[in-house]
């Protein structure tokens, strides 16, 4: 098992190094030089040279790369153009919002998607099955931002059940936020009004963000359960006279949920892409909104830092999923 983990960790090294080279090259390839951006169009060559020397841009390219690498391993991603603050600080401040949103969406997707897929498979050919297949196809094809607008129009603008934007009502501006996770903050400080308000703000964005993962999880669960139901060991278990409940729990679900765990782990990237769009529609002050705002302001250090952090998290989550898979299913380890 340890060898398996170490081998997987070693594969990560070239991937992350390659990524750092790609991002280093990316910044060089962006239109406009940093000196030009600082000095404007009418800068003299002498001024440009001075800035380049100060920023170390006159040194050989590999020296510049290693300096860049040295900075990013210390989590120094530069300064955000939008706010003039370190990119890392900006991300840490906004991270709880996105985390809260992402986790809620993923929970929603799993809690609804797995049973939906399971019952669709069990009642194959019935209306529930067809509805699940059709619904999941539509769920995959609705653009997140369009769905977000529709939810906002129906449930916030027309019905007024949920708030329109943000994470907390304006009148709760002086509510304390010791952790930055607003739902948790409400509980910790005992402020039930703020707790409930934070949940209400979370519902619509979370539903919008959950749709695509939900559709994918329901489909995978359905396919996996169908596969397992045809296995010999399920027939054996049934013919042994085990009760339906035991067969379902011990033989069907335990085997069918294996591929589902992998797919749940893979939703991370999709959730991050979706968060950029969803947070924009709901003016939800998370990391995704920050990145969306970075586009018109040409805040490239923020985009670069975000890509680095997200990609690193993504490969680490994949590793954890693989290891967990190896723990649950011994067959994987042998291969």
């Amino acid at each position: 098992m340890l060898r398996f983990i170490v081998r997987r960790l070693l594969v990560l090294v070239p991937v992350l190094l390659g990524l750092s080279i790609a991002l280093f090259a990316w910044v060089r390839a962006l239109p406009g030089s940093p000196a030009q951006a600082l000095l404007g169009e009418r800068a003299t060559q002498a001024q440009i040279d001075l800035i380049n020397r100060q920023m170390g841009l006159d040194e050989p390219i590999y020296v510049q790369y290693f300096r860049f690498l040295g900075k990013i391993v210390q989590f120094d991603f530069g300064t955000s153009v939008q706010t003039n603050q370190p990119v890392l600080d900006e991300m840490i401040r906004r991270f709880p919002a996105t985390f809260e949103l992402g986790v809620t969406a993923l929970l929603l997707a799993v809690v609804v998607g797995v049973p939906l897929g399971y019952f669709a498979a069990r009642r194959g050919g019935t209306w529930l099955d067809s509805a699940t297949i059709t619904g999941s196809l539509v769920g995959i094809t609705i653009p997140v931002f369009f769905l977000a607008y529709m939810l906002k129009y129906v449930f916030a603008v027309k019905l007024g059940w949920f708030p329109n934007t943000g994470r907390q009502e304006a009148r709760m501006l002086n509510v304390e936020h010791p952790t930055g996770f607003y739902v948790l903050d409400g509980l910790v400080t005992g402020n039930m009004a703020a707790f409930w308000d934070a949940i209400l703000h979370l519902v619509l964005p979370a539903v919008a963000l959950a749709t695509i993962p939900l559709a994918i999880i329901a489909r995978i669960t359905r396919a996996a359960v169908l596969d397992v139901l045809n296995e010999d060991y399920v027939r054996t278990a049934e013919s042994k006279g085990l009760t339906a409940g035991v067969v379902t729990r011990r033989h069907v679900l335990r085997n069918a949920l294996l591929p589902v765990t992998t797919v749940v782990g893979l939703q991370f990237g999709l959730l991050m892409s979706g968060a950029i769009l969803t947070e924009t529609v709901f003016a939800f002050p998370g990391v995704g909104k920050f990145v969306a705002d970075a586009i018109p302001t040409r805040d490239y250090p923020s985009i670069q830092g975000f890509i680095l952090v997200i990609a690193t998290l993504f490969v680490l989550i994949n590793l954890v999923v693989d290891v967990a898979y190896g723990l649950i299913d011994p067959r994987v380890r042998v291969k």
Binding site: L19, L30, P143, F146, S273, I303
Partner: protein, 302 residues
């Protein structure tokens, strides 16, 4: 039997075993989802090609007589079936003309991504060894960045505009096709026909290019159909974020949606119309792609 004749026999056997496509079409014609998908695609392509003739008005000419004041958005009427946008331009015409843009982005980015993916996949699956590991690490790296974020990065590098959006979405899809083709080629290399050709002494390059590669393309084609749907959605997403440039004479569904957001409360049709257009176009390719996958997958054959 000469080597050439023996190889020809293998090719014939492959083709007979794989009346695959003819049978797939037969199965597709019995699948209602596939038919709905095909109809949606046909409609979408028809509208895109004949947009100039179909659109009742031009994309730009505003009908300012209908606008009663700033912020007023005239609703549907006999002359303007979907109403006008906040600049007095006919919404239906802009949706129709937007179809052309969406189809163009979808097809160009798909071809770009597929070509790149096939080259990388062919290199990895065909040559193996260090080429394979290098290509696969590159693919891992590209897949580690969430698609939309990756596309944002590339579009930022190329400067805003529809060309940048097409290339960005194409590049994001390269690793998907590369990995798919490589996996399929590795599996096909062990297939009986490949082993038969090898035992006949057919050259390795010829086995790979002449037999393994063409037999590995089926899942790539299925994925291509599905990718057209995601490419249309992703293009709308990038346009929504403001990366498609600002040219108002080229209506783009994602940008139309973004520009109409402030009218959500008083004129929701401005948001709903482009949104529904995106969903229908994407749904067509998804339905046909899924049906194609089922029709070509031996597991689903009854």
């Amino acid at each position: 039997m000469s080597l050439g004749a023996a190889e020809a026999a293998i090719t014939v056997a492959e083709e007979q075993g794989g009346g695959l496509w003819r049978e797939a079409v037969k199965r597709l014609s019995r699948n209602p989802a596939a038919i709905i998908g095909a109809v949606l695609i046909a409609l979408f392509v028809f509208v895109a090609i004949f947009a100039d003739w179909l659109a009742p008005y031009t994309a730009m000419a505003p009908d300012l007589s209908q606008i009663e004041g700033p912020g007023h958005v005239p609703g549907p009427s006999a002359e303007h079936w979907l109403g006008l946008d906040d600049n007095g331009r006919d919404l239906l015409s802009r949706i129709i003309l937007g179809a052309r843009q969406s189809l163009l982005v979808g097809v160009v980015s798909l071809l770009f991504g597929m070509a790149g993916g096939i080259i990388l996949g062919l290199l990895a699956g065909g040559l193996g060894g260090w080429v394979d590991s290098t290509v696969m690490r590159l693919v891992d790296m590209m897949l580690a960045i969430p698609g939309l974020l990756f596309a944002i990065g590339i579009a930022a590098m190329l400067g805003q505009g529809m060309t940048a959006v097409m290339i960005a979405i194409g590049v994001v899809n390269i690793p998907v096709f590369a990995r798919l083709l490589r996996g399929q080629m590795l599996a096909q290399r062990e297939a009986d026909y490949a082993l038969a050709a090898k035992s006949l002494g057919v050259k390795r390059s010829r086995i790979i290019l002449g037999h393994v590669f063409p037999n590995s393309l089926t899942p790539v084609i299925v994925q291509g159909t599905l990718t057209l749907a995601t490419a249309i959605i992703e293009a709308a997403g990038l346009a929504f974020l403001g990366l498609s440039g600002e040219d108002p004479s080229i209506p783009e569904w994602g940008r139309m949606l973004a520009e109409s957001q402030r009218h959500l409360a008083n004129a929701p049709q401005l948001v709903i119309a482009p949104g529904v257009a995106i969903v229908l176009a994407a749904l067509g390719f998804t339905l046909l792609g899924e049906a194609l996958r089922e029709a070509l997958d031996p597991k689903y054959r009854r």
